[in-house]
């Protein structure tokens, strides 16, 4: 009895964060897409390649936590204006479309354009 009860307790202590366990379970359910945020990452990459003049300078840092995928984007200095757009309109459109892609993976997303 004691041993049966102890096992799940160990699991919880190891993972610590209940939300993270849920996110992993949800990702595993999606057999076609093992990596959480796979669609949103592909979409971020696609959008940036289409918008910037120097696609080879694009760097996307991905950070996953508690069902949220955070993209930190670096582009060539000359491409900053293109990616942000007038009054941030392009950046906002990127966020909206990436959020829709994240919904397909069952994750929330955030997109930061980093001024290096």
């Amino acid at each position: 009895m004691m041993a049966d009860g102890a096992e799940p307790v160990d699991d919880v202590q190891e993972d610590g964060d209940v939300n993270r366990v849920d996110a992993e379970v949800a990702a595993d359910d999606d057999a076609g897409n093992r990596r959480a945020g796979g669609t949103s990452l592909a979409v971020v990459r696609y959008l940036l390649d289409a918008i910037v003049a120097e696609p080879e300078a694009v760097v996307i840092d991905t950070e996953e936590r508690s069902g949220t995928v955070r993209f930190r984007i670096h582009v060539a200095p000359d491409d900053m204006g293109r990616v942000i757009g007038r009054r941030g309109r392009v950046a906002q459109a990127i966020r909206t479309v990436v959020a829709a892609a994240g919904a397909r993976d069952g994750v929330s997303t955030s997109v930061d354009i980093v001024d290096d």
């Binding site: 979409v43 289409a50 906002q92 479309v97 892609a101 397909r104």
Partner: protein
């Protein structure tokens, strides 16, 4: 950078962009273009499972359209024409509903003689309302307020 693109070339560039985006989403769709007038081209994507790309009140669709315009502008040195994107027939259904709504409000204004202020709408929606109302005898429209809360008033024609 290319020189000035023709309307057809702009439409094709937008079509390629939208088709590639849908592919990244993993949704199957037919993506085509149609010329609406001499300076407007519409990219239309049809298929099932496109609701995610329309989004709440068409917000995702509006973002896709913004991005399609950005991408086409990047390929053209001079100004570009009007590029519209419709996904899953959303814009068409929305404008049909707006036209019916406008007709209904115009009928009320004609019957009562009292002007009616509508809810704030996007510029694209306002254009549909203006165009519809201005074809109805006896009423006219004006816009009031500042973006994004700009709205239309339908009133009796002078």
């Amino acid at each position: 950078m290319e020189e000035r693109l023709t309307l057809e070339e702009q439409g094709e560039a937008a079509r390629v962009f939208v088709a590639g985006l849908l592919e990244q989403f993993g949704v199957a769709a037919d993506v085509g273009t149609r010329t609406l007038d001499e300076e407007t081209v519409e990219v239309t994507a049809t298929g099932s499972d496109l609701g995610l790309l329309v989004g709440p009140r068409g917000a995702t669709l509006a973002a896709v359209q913004d991005l399609a315009r950005t991408v086409v502008q990047r390929q053209s040195v001079s100004r570009t024409d009007r590029i519209l994107v419709d996904i899953g027939g959303y814009r068409e259904k929305r404008s049909a509903a707006l036209r019916r709504f406008t007709q209904g409000v115009a009928d009320e204004v004609l019957a009562s003689g009292t002007e009616r202020a509508l809810e704030p709408m996007s510029a694209a929606d306002r254009k549909v309302v203006h165009d519809t109302a201005n074809e109805i005898d006896g009423v006219q429209t004006r816009s009031e307020g500042e973006e994004p809360r700009r709205y239309i008033v339908i009133e009796l024609a002078d």
